[in-house]
């Protein structure tokens, strides 16, 4: 059996203009990495939006995935939360297993 280690997967959906603010916070929290995935469209409490045809960043969202050590997760979440209190977006956390624990 492959030896795996428990980590936290933090998934954030955030408005694009605030992306740098988020990655700054992630870096400050000492996460070892993150990955940014494009988002096409969505709906939330504020109605629906779509990236189609947009020439600017406002009104567009992106998704950020970061695999973090369980010990760091709380700190990361708090920093992300204070940002999300003011910007449009959501954050979820889930358990994942990784193979190389040292990578994260």
């Amino acid at each position: 059996m492959v030896q795996t280690h428990l980590k936290k997967r933090i998934e954030i959906i955030l408005e694009a203009p605030a992306l740098h603010r988020l990655t700054d916070r992630l870096n400050q929290a000492g996460v070892t990495g993150y990955t940014i995935v494009p988002v096409l469209a969505g709906r939330g409490r504020d109605g629906s939006w779509s990236a189609e045809g947009l020439a600017g960043d406002a009104g567009r969202l992106v998704m950020i995935i970061s695999i973090v050590d369980a010990a760091k997760a709380d700190d990361v979440l708090e920093r992300v939360y204070t940002l999300l209190a003011r910007q449009i977006g959501i954050v979820t956390v889930s358990d994942v297993q990784v193979i190389r624990a040292d990578h994260f």
Partner: protein
């Protein structure tokens, strides 16, 4: 030409009609759409083209006092219009100070596509206009953002209206380096440096297909504006809606008075007035998401793109042309 003649001629141009097509398609819930990657690239193409052509014009004419004065007038307007807009909005609507400031910022800044549409209308009448107006457009993009920030702060304790740890300086730097400003100003300087020779090299790309590309972009803007109307209409109260039409008219009037003594050409005056009357929908919304995240984007985006832009495109520009025939030389 009278306003009516100008307006009816404007309304049957391919540009306005493609915008209308996009609007109609979005309102009818067609799945017509331009991919985001292409919309972004066309926007950059438009900046590249108008920046470059403006630079080439300035290479011909050199830097003149008129140019510096008009730039000064532009910066002034970009600072002042948000202040007027803010108090007007606060007086007539129930918008919060932050929302009012964010909206007002859009009206102090400019819309480059409205600018382009005005230059096309002016060219369509065979009128020349000053090439340096591209530079004026560029300097008018950002002062309005500063203005709005100050207004919002005055109304609220500083800690609340601004991202913790983000200084206003960092913000202004970020806004000043946004892609539209960099592309416009960069192409302007390249056009200036390479002059007519440079233009000859790339004219088949940046000049000849320009209007056609503009049609495609206006189709896209119609689609986005229509989607915005559908989604955002319920966020706009009647006074706010009225603001989206009356504020451009007011700004146009102020701009006309301001340049009356400067001696711009009729074409140039029309373009300058249009700049003042236009509202940003790319640079300022993004800046507002950073500077005033509490302001609701559904309001300012819908108002700028769904109300003011179509109004300017269809009726505003011919009107500003008619005004310019009185104030220009």
């Amino acid at each position: 030409m009278s306003f009516l003649e100008l307006a009816s001629q404007n309304l049957v141009s391919p540009m306005v009609l493609f915008f209308a097509l996009g609007l109609a398609a979005a309102l009818a819930r067609s799945d017509l759409s331009i991919p985001e990657a292409v919309a972004k690239t066309i926007a950059l193409y438009l900046m590249m083209s108008i920046g470059f052509k403006g630079g080439v014009e300035v290479a011909k004419s050199g830097i003149t006092t008129l140019m510096l004065l008009v730039m000064l007038a532009g910066v002034l307007l970009s600072f002042i219009i948000p202040v007027i807009g803010f108090f007007a909005l606060r007086a007539v609507s129930r918008l919060s100070a932050v929302d009012a400031a964010a909206i007002a910022a859009h009206y102090g800044s400019i819309s480059i596509v409205t600018f382009v549409a005005a230059t096309e209308a002016v060219r369509g009448l065979g009128l020349p206009f000053e090439g340096f107006l591209v530079a004026v457009a560029a300097v008018m993009e950002t002062p309005a953002i500063l203005s709005a920030l100050l207004l919002a702060r005055r109304a609220q304790p500083a800690g609340q209206t601004q991202g913790e740890g983000e200084s206003a300086g960092a913000l202004i730097r970020e806004v000043g380096l946004n892609s539209s400003v960099v592309m416009l100003v960069g192409s302007f300087f390249i056009g200036w440096a390479t002059g007519a020779k440079g233009l000859a090299m790339i004219a088949p790309f940046i000049v000849d297909p320009f209007r056609g590309v503009l049609c495609l972009f206006l189709l896209d803007m119609g689609l986005v504006a229509g989607r915005g109307m559908r989604e955002g209409a319920r966020h706009l109260s009647p006074p706010v809606l009225a603001f989206g039409i009356l504020m451009p008219l007011f700004s146009a009037a102020v701009a006309a008075l301001l340049i009356l003594p400067l001696g711009l050409s009729v074409g140039g005056a029309a373009v300058f007035i249009t700049l003042a009357a236009s509202a940003s929908y790319i640079a300022v919304p993004a800046a507002m998401r950073l500077a005033l995240p509490e302001a609701k984007p559904a309001i300012y985006l819908t108002l700028s793109l769904g109300v003011t832009f179509p109004f300017n495109l269809a009726l505003g520009i011919p009107l500003y042309l008619a005004i310019a025939q009185r104030v220009g030389l």
